[in-house]
Structure formats: C-alpha cells, structure tokens
C-alpha cells in the first residue's frame, strides 16, 4: 500500500500526544487508518509493509486490549513484535526508566510502543532512544491512538467531525482518553463538552476548549456523539464519588438519559466497560447506538497506520 494519494506524510519522529499535531498530520493518520480498515475488512492476509522491522511493546502498566491491538497491528504488517511487560514490582528491582530506555535502544529496535502510569514518562523515554516512540498511554496525560480510533469510528458513522457536538462523560480528571480526545476533536472542528461531578472535572479544563456541565440532562442536550469513560473502582466509594448506585443514577448512561441527546447520537466507550456503573448493559449491547466493538476493530487499523507512519526506511 502507498500513501502518496492522501496527505504528504506524518512529519514527526514520535507520536507522544495529540496536542500540537496539525490537522494535516491527524488527517494523514486517519486516512491511512481508513485504508487499513478497508483492507482488513476484505482480507485476512498479512501485509509486508513492515517486513524485517522490529517493534517493542513496553508496558509498565497492565493492559490487555491496547497491547494486543498493537501486537496484532504489527503482525498484520509483517513486523516482528516483542512484548515486554514491566510489572510495577520489577521496576523496584532498581533500574530507572532512563536506563531501561538506553538498554532497549542498544538493541536497535525500529519503534517502541510505551505505556507508563506516570504522565510525561513516555516523553522522557523518547528523548533517550534513536527510534520512534508511540505513547500508548502515559498516566492521565494522553492516549493518542485511542483518540484517533475514536475519531475514525465517528467518521465511519457520521462522515465528518467538523461541527459535531461531542460530550465526554465521567471521570475526566483521571482520563488520558479524555485529554487526547479533547485535543483531537477540537483540532478537527467539533464542539466538545465534558460532563461529570465536579470532583471528577479538573480545574480550568475550559482552557482546553471545552464546555463543562455537571448534569447529564444539560450536557447531553443535542449532542451527536457521547464518549463514556471508565470509572475506576477505587474512585467509586467515598473518595471522588459516594457510591456506585449514586454514580449510575446521575452519571450512568442509559436509554433514558440518551433521550436528551440527538436522536441518532452515537455512543462510544474506550473500554473496559463497567456495566451498571457508567453504562447500562442493554445500551452497551445495542449495536445501532453503541459503537463500542467497532472501536476495538478500528483500534487495530489505527495502530497499523501509526506503526507504518513512524517506522521510516533508513
């Protein structure tokens, strides 16, 4: 496959976040993803776009879907994928992040995909290696491939992003998905809102170009897309939110609250879902309204595009 027909290329060495990317770069990645998505729909044969390339998945935080998605994406393109899961316990063996980076760099990979539980850690690592680095999530900071796959999913259903009203609901404070999506959707011209209890909305988030709502009824009014976020268990009982039942009652998405939104509003969720906490089970399974499984599918295509865009021929 070639990329000449769409935009010129992806001009950066790394993909550390959506913030700061120009619309052209984003559109380039999305269009390349579209191509791969179309290819995957019709074929199950591997491509050889990244034949003889080596890619390391370096995950400092537990992850199943993102790691698998990158692994599958790499394999579909013919690359050699290495998985390194660094549990939090083995970090305590003493090696610093920078030492880990330099060790891996010495192995001369073509790309490193990194997830880390600290914001900024992926950027720090990227400064110490010669190859490109993809951020697969750094603390509550950014998760660019998730935002790209969300936009790709929206585009497949809504044709355009510009002018859409998109509401991101739930735990905005701890969410890298929210931050990356806010940047991406704003860059492509959507109107972005965030909805949640004030305890889960970080201070001055308005400066990132969103409107803040504390009530679903007001925030969901006339929106075209709803992105529900996962609420982590440890944040549910008494610290940020009093209880699961109270959270679901006021911030959980069900068919009743969905009525406040536009009649053909699309529901997204980055997964893994807490059924009955942030999303009603019935709604999650409604394939007309929720694109949750389509998102997973698009995830592979987006990651293929990102790997392809970042691994450049030497």
């Amino acid at each position: 496959m070639t990329e000449e027909k769409v935009f010129k290329n992806y001009p950066h060495k790394h993909l550390l976040g959506i913030e700061g990317l120009l619309p052209d770069s984003i559109n380039y990645l999305i269009n390349l993803s579209k191509k791969y998505a179309n290819y995957l729909e019709d074929n199950n044969q591997k491509l050889d776009d990244l034949k003889n390339k080596t890619c390391i998945n370096l995950f400092f935080e537990n992850s199943t879907r993102t790691r698998t998605s990158f692994e599958l994406a790499g394999k579909k393109l013919g690359a050699d994928m290495l998985n390194i899961s660094v549990g939090t316990s083995s970090i305590k063996k003493g090696e610093t992040l920078i030492d880990t980076a330099m060790t891996l760099n010495a192995m001369q990979p073509d790309l490193i995909v990194v997830r880390h539980n600290d914001a900024g850690a992926v950027k720090l690592l990227s400064e110490k290696v010669n190859c490109g680095v993809i951020n697969a999530g750094d603390g509550p900071h950014e998760h660019p491939t998730q935002a790209l796959l969300d936009s790709l999913t929206i585009l497949r259903r809504k044709k355009t992003i510009s002018g859409l009203k998109v509401a991101i609901c739930g735990d905005i404070m701890h969410s890298r998905v929210a931050r990356s999506n806010i940047h991406l959707l704003n860059t492509l011209g959507a109107e972005v809102r965030v909805i949640g209890p004030a305890t889960l909305i970080p201070k001055e988030i308005e400066s990132m170009g969103v409107k803040v709502f504390y009530k679903m009824k007001e925030g969901l009014k006339d929106v075209d897309v709803i992105i529900m976020l996962r609420l982590q268990l440890e944040r549910m009982s008494g610290s940020f939110v009093p209880s699961i039942r109270e959270y679901f009652r006021y911030y959980g998405l069900n068919n009743e609250k969905l009525k406040y939104a536009h009649s053909d509003a699309l529901v997204l969720h980055p997964g893994p879902m807490n059924r009955g906490v942030e999303i009603d089970s019935e709604l999650a399974d409604d394939l007309d309204r929720s694109a949750i499984f389509e998102q997973v599918q698009m995830g592979v295509a987006v990651r293929m595009a990102c790997l392809k865009a970042l691994i450049k021929d030497k």
Binding site: P197, A198, T199, K203, Y214, K215, S237, G238, S239, F240, V241, P242, S243, R245, E246, R249, Y250
Partner: protein, 438 residues
C-alpha cells in the same frame, strides 16, 4: 380542643379566620393589623376586615397579639433513632409546636447517623404519624460522620435532605472537605460546617482563658473555630459551593464572615441563643447545663455576636436543641455531655434582642423564619396568600420565667432555667392546622 392537652394532631379540616392580629411580614419588612384567612392547608387571604360565614370558619380574635410565619429551626437534634431516652420525634415535635417552631431541621447525629436515604425516609414517616411540626433532615457529609468518605449526597437530597453536615463534628480533613464542597456544587447543594479544629479542642471543656484556668478545666481556644472557617473559605473560593457555618460563637468568626460576605462568597451562618445571651461566667459552680459546644465564650465575644446579628453578618438564629437526660448532665463537669435544649426558648430569646438591643421586630423574626427558610430552599417561613399556613400567634409582652420542668421536651437541660423573659407563643399552625394552643 381538649383543655388538658394543648396539642392537636387530628386530621379534621377546620378553616380559621385570625382577626385583628399584627401581622409581621419579614419579606416586605412590615407589621400591619390584618386578618388572616386559612382555608385547608393554605393562607387564602391576608387583608383588613375579611368577613366570612361563621359556620364555615372558626374565628379567633388576635387583637393585641402578633401573627408571624412559623419558626424554622435549622439546628435541632431529635434523638431518634438511637437516643430515644433523650428525645423522640414525638417529644421534639411537641416541644417545637409549643415553642412556635413549625419546621424542625434535624441534625444527622442520630444512631445510626443520617448518612443514607433510608434513614431520612424512616424519620419522615414517623414525623407524619406524629403530625405536629414539619420535620426536615440534613444528611451527613461523610459516612457515619467519621470524616473520611463522602456520603450519597445527591441521593439523600432527592429524598429530602436540605443540606449536608457532620452535625456536631467538624469535617477536619481539608481534602475531604474540598471534595464534599466540589461534589455538592455539582447539584447546588448546601454544605453546613460545625467549625472546630478537633486536634486543638481535644479534651477541651470550656473557652480557653482566665476562667478556664481558674476553674482548672481544659480550654478550647476560640481560634479553633475561626481557623476552620478561614480554611473552608479558601475551599469555598475555589469550589464556589454554598457554605453555611453553624453556631458561631466568637468575635473572630463574625469578623471573618463579615469580610467574606463583602468579598461576595456564597457563605451564610447562624448562631444560637446561648452565644448572645450568656457568657462563660454561666459555668460558675461547674454548671453542666451550660456546658455547650462550642463553649460559651467571653463577654467581648458575646457583644460581637450581637453586633453580627444587628448588622446582618449573622443570617440565622437556630436553637441548637441538644437534649440530654439527667444522667448525662449530673456528672463531674469533665464527664458531662455538651449541649442544651432550646426549641421552647428560641422565640423569647430572639425577642430579647428586640427588647434590649434595638433589633427591629421584623428583622428578629426574619432571623428565625425567612432567612433559614431561604438558605435551605424551603417554601415556608413567609406569610403570604397561597403559601401553606405555617403560622404562629404570640404575645410580645407577656413576662414569664423559664421553667424547664414545664418543657414538653423529654430532656430538661436548658442553660436558661429560671431566667425571666418576655414574649410567649400562644398558637401554632402547621399546614393550616392548629397544632398547639397554650
């Protein structure tokens, strides 16, 4: 009505016409001679010379008496559930009705604490059976009022909680308090704080100072109150949540709140009669009935509380009704419980400010009716057509001596026993029913 029993909880509908009373309207700031027509639950009409069919209306002559909205007491410990030997919903409602309090707002320090919707429902069900004064609840800010995890504030509000407070405990953890304010802001909730730094007041019995030293009692510094208010104001400035400080007792608290109001922060506060009627000298002879929380302060503090009431810094007077049985008070001072009853003395104590400190009568009545009602978002505490008839008829001049033995409350621990006062409630109407007549 049975003469021996001044209370009436019958559901029989009777319509009333109150003739020629001086009607105090805290909304319009007026006192005018008018007739009040009560039909069913509501005030049907309010003007001079109303004439009606005498067969359909019971006419009560209120000449020489004042008619005002019923009192909204925003700080009452009702004892039930958990402390029925001190007070029950029934005895508290009787005390309230006789004292002219038509709306009780309970503190959540029951056992179990009011920290979930089910307890609010159970209290409301019992209050309906008693059917005297209206009973409203506040909910805990934190589970079990333990100061750690925030409660289901929004659910409790849906079930009727008017505001949230840990009652007689301060939320001392600043992070928890910030989250509570932030969370409550999401649905325009009201957070009510008992301001007392618990580490500083630990083991304290009375106001720290000369008096405590002479008595040999551990003191509670007055800044233990003001420092919590000051801390909370930073959080209020940040979260913009509505914030109310309960029973303030010191000069510094008044000054801080006065300044915060000028700054435009969404803050209100109340005090209780002991803090403008008494000072620490009432504790002479180790009088445990005057052992209160916050403790009675100095004469300077008392004067500043009065100034705070006069200039409007203090929005509300609440009784801070805290019933305790004899066994909890007839103890060495250090072992006795904190608190005093107040439902039956709230009206004369408030009127004392009119008699002795030139507070206007309408302003005095606002402090116990309209102001608390507005802070709590209630549709009572006012007198105008189409509102529910929660009214009292009182004699402004009648002198009497407070005798705790005659209280309807189950507990008699009043710090005002034997004090001579003027002004007495004669009749109490709740939802148009005459629930109390002296």
């Amino acid at each position: 009505m049975n003469l021996k029993n001044p209370f009436n909880n019958s559901k029989l509908p009777i319509n009333y016409l109150l003739k020629n009373g001086s009607v105090i309207d805290p909304d319009k700031n007026t006192i005018e001679k008018k007739d009040v027509l009560i039909e069913g639950k509501i005030i049907k009409d309010l003007k001079k010379n109303i004439s009606v069919d005498e067969k359909k209306f019971k006419i009560i002559d209120c000449n020489n008496f004042f008619i005002s909205p019923g009192i909204v007491d925003m700080r009452v410990n009702i004892g039930e559930p958990g402390f029925e030997h001190k007070e029950t919903i029934k005895s508290a409602c009787k005390a309230a009705a006789s004292g002219g309090v038509t709306s009780i707002v309970c503190m959540p320090n029951t056992y179990p604490a009011i920290d979930q919707p089910a307890i609010i429902q159970s209290i409301q069900r019992k209050a309906r059976e008693v059917s005297l004064s209206k009973v409203f609840c506040t909910g805990c800010i934190t589970r079990g009022a333990e100061g750690n995890e925030i409660c289901e504030l929004q659910l409790m509000r849906e079930f009727g909680a008017l505001g949230f407070t840990d009652g007689n405990k301060s939320v001392s953890n600043a992070r928890v308090m910030k989250r509570a304010l932030n969370y409550a802001k999401s649905f325009d909730g009201l957070i009510i704080q008992h301001a007392e730094e618990p580490e500083l007041s630990q083991g304290g019995m009375v106001n720290e100072g000369e008096f405590a030293t002479r008595m040999g009692l551990t003191g509670i510094p007055n800044y233990s109150e003001s420092m919590i208010i000051e801390r909370d104001l930073w959080l209020v400035r940040d979260t913009k949540c509505r914030y109310h400080v309960s029973h303030i007792s010191t000069k510094e608290s008044v000054e801080i709140i006065r300044k915060a109001k000028k700054e435009g922060l969404p803050i209100t506060c109340d005090t209780a009669p002991p803090y403008f009627m008494l000072n620490e000298l009432s504790l002479e002879n180790y009088r445990t009935f005057s052992k209160l929380s916050p403790p009675l302060r100095t004469e300077e503090d008392r004067n500043n509380i009065i100034n705070g009431i006069l200039d409007g810094t203090i929005d509300v007077i609440a009784s801070d009704h805290t019933p305790h049985d004899q066994d909890a008070k007839r103890l060495p001072f250090n072992q006795a419980e904190f608190g005093g009853v107040g439902l039956e003395t709230l009206l004369p104590m408030t009127l004392n400010l009119v008699k002795n400190y030139n507070l206007s009568l309408t302003k005095a009545i606002s402090l116990i009716t309209k102001n608390p009602s507005e802070i709590l978002g209630l549709k009572t505490g006012k007198i105008s057509p189409d509102l529910e008839a929660d009214l009292i008829v009182f004699d402004l001049e009648k002198p009497w001596k407070i005798n705790s033995e005659s209280f309807h409350s189950k507990s008699k621990n009043s710090p005002f026993d034997d004090i001579l006062v003027q002004g007495k409630n004669l009749m109490t109407f709740v939802r148009g029913r005459l629930v109390y007549k002296s």
